[in-house]
Symmetry: C2
Subunit: 409 residues, 2 copies
Amino acid sequence: MVKVKVISGGVTAPRGFKASGVSCGIKGSGRKDVALIFSEVPAIAAAVFTTNKMAAPPILISKKHVQEGVAQAVVINSGNANSCTGRRGITDAIEMAKITAGELRKKCLGKISPYQILLASTGIIGVPLPMDNLKRGIQNAVISLSYDAHLDAAEAIMTTDSFPKEMAIEFKIGNKTLTLGGMTKGAGMIAPNMATTLSVLTSDIRISHSCLKRALRKSVDKSFNMITVDGEMSTNDMVVILANGIAQNQEVVEDSKDALIFQEALDFLTQELAKMVVRDGEGATKFIEIIIRGGKSFGDAKTIAMTVANSNLVKTAFFGEDINWGRIIASIGHSGAEINPHDIDIYLSHHQIVKGSEGLPFNEGEIKEVLKDKEIRVTIDLNLGDSIATVWTTDLSYDYVKINAAYKT
Amino acid sequence: MVKVKVISGGVTAPRGFKASGVSCGIKGSGRKDVALIFSEVPAIAAAVFTTNKMAAPPILISKKHVQEGVAQAVVINSGNANSCTGRRGITDAIEMAKITAGELRKKCLGKISPYQILLASTGIIGVPLPMDNLKRGIQNAVISLSYDAHLDAAEAIMTTDSFPKEMAIEFKIGNKTLTLGGMTKGAGMIAPNMATTLSVLTSDIRISHSCLKRALRKSVDKSFNMITVDGEMSTNDMVVILANGIAQNQEVVEDSKDALIFQEALDFLTQELAKMVVRDGEGATKFIEIIIRGGKSFGDAKTIAMTVANSNLVKTAFFGEDINWGRIIASIGHSGAEINPHDIDIYLSHHQIVKGSEGLPFNEGEIKEVLKDKEIRVTIDLNLGDSIATVWTTDLSYDYVKINAAYKT
């Protein structure tokens, strides 16, 4: 286990990173709506994007830009997703990168090309970006860049989030202390009419492009891809990492011991950020961890975990603080994954409630107490193999319906 | 189009069928909980079962019995699903068939073997069947069999249903008038801790076993498999049809003109019954029809229809009477099915609101009026091919959460 130390500073904790978060009026509320993260030197870049076939223009453009493998800034606006905006959406996204590169050049912050800008938009779907506002916002964001504005940036990417989500950690490779920072957004996997998770990670580590790419993909699969509030997927999801190498460590390359250390540190950070998204889930009153053990394969274990986690019946039962294992077992059965229907065990916290697919007698008072907790752990043993999958989710409350029904387009 | 006439009589409308519905105390409420449907002569039988891998013992036994191709009675209890009940569950299900056959023989109703009994249980999961009660119930049900107790039977299979669901129709093949009857249950695809759809269909038609089997499979794919309230699937779903041939028509065989007529009549009945289930959906305030046009394949069209129909975001938007097409289009994109992201049209009733994946201006007042209706139709044109799929669903309301959270095991 790698020793990881949580520190303050969010995305600007690693050396050489500046950030800013400003308001330009895209959000009617006047809240911050443009975030900029900037590395003083070109950084190795990797990203993972939504698989939604309706992927929005900023996603399409970022996908193209990140292929270069090097980036120097990430610009994000909230309040408008620039999604389902036709040809104009593409033009606007390209323009967003150009404006950012141009403003950074103007301030003599380097010979930055638009191809080194990654971008994201999150907010309402189907409305063109107000480019005049955005331009002013980006100009202001460039001027405001600072080594300690990480929280401003984290606030500027919020949509229905009730709190900004950021974290930074230190870890060691050899005798070098390295830093990883990150921020994310999302109130549930979804937010009314909006994009969902959008994360920016930063590091001062020196690492090869292929190693960074692979580590990010792996890490997202263990974190952001393991959370669900309602099984929805947005058109604007993106997780991006910039590694600027300022720490001057010996370059971390694939299949090395150092790569494993970095992977562990990255996994820690992405999992903590992902869990913050679940904790802020729309209307959530419970944070629920679902652990599948004994799966035939990781794929099977994850499918079952996700099916249970997305079951409205399971979610409403937890909201009602009722241990309705019949609903859990029905979900397991219809997930499509391989199971032995006669040999499923279910535990609530450390109390076994189902053994060999049959109910066990349990102490009602004890179970009631466990169900009252804000954090609940359900472990399901499939008794088939060695694979494990852990998914984090929420309950389904009146407030989820209220938040999503009351919102008007 | 085959001319179909709706008549009264439910499952006992076809000649030679008797039914009953009695109470034996499995339900604490004292409501009816044992239903029996009996054909005076052995009937050709076919059935479709849940694909849930946790399929309950009565499903496993019925699957075996229906392989004979002939059955004479269907016995159903509500209040207890006999699911996740281990070896004892299997023994009890076999016993349930034996008791029914024995009681029917005692009343001199024919030389009925237990293999000619199909059975189903619906209700709480994980609790053994109270066999003493059930035995009394079956005895009573046999005594109570009559040509007009169709409503008693329909009531006896209810769980959280708010009304009994039955229908009968007449149609002609040549100059013979044939009759089809049916009953179903389900308040949404799911009900608290319970099984979901469970349907018994009866007919006096003479039809070959292979033709009946194929017609039922096809019909279920166009009806019960096209409804969803919350995407859940129970351990106890079953649709069974008995055709006793008393109408003395020329035997209907596969790939004939008569088979097509029967198919149309059967589709009408199963779709009407399936829609009743949706109309009774837990907490539903709207009945929503989602039509996908222009799909590359039926599979793709259905996948998209189901993804939209099961989206909590789409469902809460309809509950809030808001036309949030961004949520619809995000669902379409993440369904996994093939689409052209730049060419999707969406209509609400006859108003087009999205063209080529971009929003159109619309008359807000008119749209508001449409959204106030109890019945809403959304048509999505994928502009890719000729395939069409229609799915029926409900909105997601406070009451769905309330019904499912307040229920205690």
